[in-house]
């Protein structure tokens, strides 16, 4: 590392030149696809007073939707981290017939139109469906309750966790585990003190992605949620409702709150991650 600290210092010694061009293309794309649409959200709100904004976003019914959306997404992301690690582990560490198929199936939630997933899950988990009827016998209703919302969110979130962890696991040399075993660590100790710390940053990324996706998910959740105000109404639905009533500023206000939530979660997780990385590097 040299003493030069200019932020845009060109790396003259880079093998592939073209920093200017590639940076330009990157910024243009980023602006067109992310920054300008986000900024236009604010533009819709330019005639809105803060009092109006606050009335919409702090409305009792809207507050209830935040609670439902965030708690369901949180639970779903936690479940996904546990099962995602397990799934990634099974896929990377064991050789068994059908492994590739299983590997491919994990991406199904990405590929399937979310509405299709939502309708299928609703049918299966309703008290008349194959799975739902089993749970109904013990008095548990899944479709049209927050449990159903959580299940839909688990479904759409799982690939994020698996795909975040998989590459790390693949690179993780089994020799570490062998070394731990040789040095006298038990199986649990090996997992929790050797493997898990390596996986933690990736698991956190997976958690953040799955959580952010679940909070914003509309298509699949809306079918399985009963959409009853205060009980099973999610925030994206209330945004859609405001749009259906041609109330663009109100919809945008709530959307803005969602953006802030997601940003805070992603920011917090990044912070945590950099801390963990520092600990891992021992600095």
């Amino acid at each position: 590392m040299s003493g030069l600290k200019a932020p845009f210092r060109r790396r003259g010694n880079n093998v592939i030149p073209g920093f200017g061009l590639s940076m330009g293309v990157t910024l243009t794309m980023l602006s067109l696809i992310v920054l300008i649409p986000l900024a236009s959200v604010l533009l819709v709100l330019r005639d809105y007073s803060f009092a109006e904004f606050w009335r919409v976003v702090a409305d009792k019914q809207t507050l209830a939707t935040y609670r439902i959306s965030l708690s369901c997404a949180g639970i779903a992301a936690c479940v996904n981290v546990v099962f995602g690690v397990l799934l990634a582990w099974v896929i990377t560490r064991y050789k068994f017939p059908g492994r590739r198929i299983l590997d491919g199936l994990i991406e199904l939630p990405f590929a399937l139109p979310t509405a299709v997933a939502g309708i299928a899950l609703t049918t299966l988990y309703s008290d008349k469906g194959w799975i739902g009827s089993l749970f109904d016998k013990i008095g548990v209703k899944i479709s049209y309750t927050t449990k159903g919302i959580t299940i839909a969110m688990i479904f759409i979130g799982i690939p994020f966790v698996v795909r975040s962890i998989q590459p790390v696991l693949e690179k993780l040399d089994p020799q570490y585990e062998e070394a731990a075993a040789v040095l006298g660590a038990g199986r649990a100790e090996t997992f929790f003190r050797v493997v898990l710390p390596e996986l933690l940053p990736a698991a956190l990324t997976g958690f953040a992605l799955a959580f952010a996706r679940s909070v914003g998910e509309y298509g699949s959740v809306v079918f399985i949620a009963g959409n009853i105000p205060y009980k099973t109404q999610i925030t994206p639905l209330i945004i859609m409702n405001k749009l259906e009533q041609f109330n663009y500023p109100a919809a945008t206000s709530i959307a803005l709150v969602m953006i802030v939530f997601s940003f805070l979660v992603l920011f917090g997780i990044n912070l945590l991650q950099s801390k963990i990385n520092k600990i891992a590097r021992g600095s």
Binding site: V56, D59, K60, Q61, Y94, F96, P97, G98, R99, I101, L102, L105, L108, L112, P113, A115, V116, I119, A120, L121, T122, T123, L124, S126, D127, K128, G129, W130, S143, Y144, V222, F223, G226, N227, I228, P229, Y230, L237, M240, N241, K242, L243, E244, Q245, F246, N247, A250
Partner: protein, 369 residues
């Protein structure tokens, strides 16, 4: 060992495939289908002699887009064929009609946001009027066509399970405790607003106009609602395919359709009082001027009032607006039902929306805690 893993993975894969296979007839919003195939007809069909003689010969084919709402899918599929034949005979011109369906409010919004519909055929006058407010439809569109621009009407009825096990006869039966009601969310669904207003009108009649009692009635009704889907088709699916609830508040035509698709599983109960639902149709002036389709688009809507089309609407379980043809369907529809209507009993859509469905209005108050 290996064998058991194999069977487990196959089971997992099988499970996932079954998940896909278990899909019921998905009717996601905004499906588009095009009827008529002008391209091949053009190639094989030289200019008709008659058309060529005219000085300003109309193009051999024209295409229009009809943006409609959910339950009209089957109706317009058949009507488009009828109109294509009529227009070919009348003008020697092929018409290609692109059809789009979805929740009425959503469809209106898509037109406002640039979906270049030539005509809209939506569930609510209010939705069409939003397009007017955006400047795409001229003022006074309601009066441009007969019967307030509503060529067919419908009403709200109850769909119950076979044998009517909960003995549901009228609105006051469905507010009783222990009855599960399925209806869409009036915030997002045009059909749901008709449901709400019909129930309100019944209560209003029972309680002699006491608003507080009406609110209590509606509160009792909506506390029985177990699933509040975002659109009418969603509610039908919830009730019919997923077996939820004891009674579905439905468009009459949707109720008939469910009955036809599942013969013997459901019964239709017509309440003593309901509401005259007038789905509105209009030419989108700004778009037809741009496309040069004013003539054919206007004819497309006017032909909805012709005897043939009115009969077709009756066959698709919409009530024809022509009283003579409606009488021909006396066996299908309960013509004795007392129908209130939006203009006389609720002061029009704008007033009704303001009073019942705006943020913080009566519908929100019902759920307020």
């Amino acid at each position: 060992m290996k064998k058991s893993i194999l069977s487990k993975t196959t089971a997992a894969a099988l499970g996932a495939f079954l998940l896909i296979a278990a899909l019921p007839g998905c009717s996601g919003g905004g499906a588009v289908n095009t009827s008529g195939n002008t391209a091949s007809a053009d190639a094989s069909n030289p200019t008709p002699a008659g058309a060529a003689k005219e000085p300003a010969a109309a193009p051999k084919s024209v295409s229009i887009t009809n943006v409609s709402y959910d339950p009209t899918r089957e109706l317009y599929e058949r009507y488009n064929k009828l109109f294509q034949e009529y227009w070919l005979k009348e003008k020697g011109q092929e018409v290609e009609i692109t059809q789009s369906h979805g929740g009425s409010g959503k469809q209106a919004r898509s037109v406002i946001e640039g979906n270049e519909a030539d005509v809209v055929t939506l569930a609510l006058e209010g939705d069409v009027d939003e397009i007017r407010k955006a400047g795409l439809i001229d003022e006074g569109w309601v009066k441009r066509l007969d019967k307030e621009s509503a060529p067919y009407t419908s009403t709200i009825v109850f769909l119950v399970r076979k044998g009517n096990p909960k003995n549901i006869k009228d609105w006051d039966d469905i507010v009783k405790s222990g009855i599960e009601v399925i209806t869409p969310d009036p915030k997002s669904s045009g059909g749901a607003r008709w449901n709400f207003l019909a129930a309100w009108a019944f209560s209003n009649q029972q309680n002699g106009g006491d608003e507080e009692k009406n609110k209590e009635f509606m509160k009792a009704l909506y506390s029985n609602v177990t699933v509040l889907d975002s659109g009418a088709r969603g509610s039908t699916t919830t009730f019919v395919e997923n077996g939820q609830g004891d009674v579905l508040l439905a468009w009459e035509n949707e109720a008939f359709l469910s009955q036809k698709e599942h013969p013997g599983d459901f019964e239709i109960v017509t309440p003593s009082l309901s509401i005259l639902a007038q789905p509105s149709v209009a030419v989108v002036d700004a778009n037809v001027k741009k496309h040069g389709t004013e003539e054919v688009a206007t004819a497309y809507l006017q032909y909805l009032y012709s005897d043939e089309a009115q009969r077709l609407e009756g066959q698709n379980d919409y009530r024809p607006s022509n009283p003579d043809i409606l009488k021909e369907f006396g066996d299908t529809f309960d013509l004795n039902i007392k129908l209130v209507n939006i203009d006389d009993d609720f002061g029009g859509w704008e007033a009704a929306t303001e009073k019942f469905f705006a943020d913080g209005a009566i519908f929100d108050q019902i759920y307020k805690r």
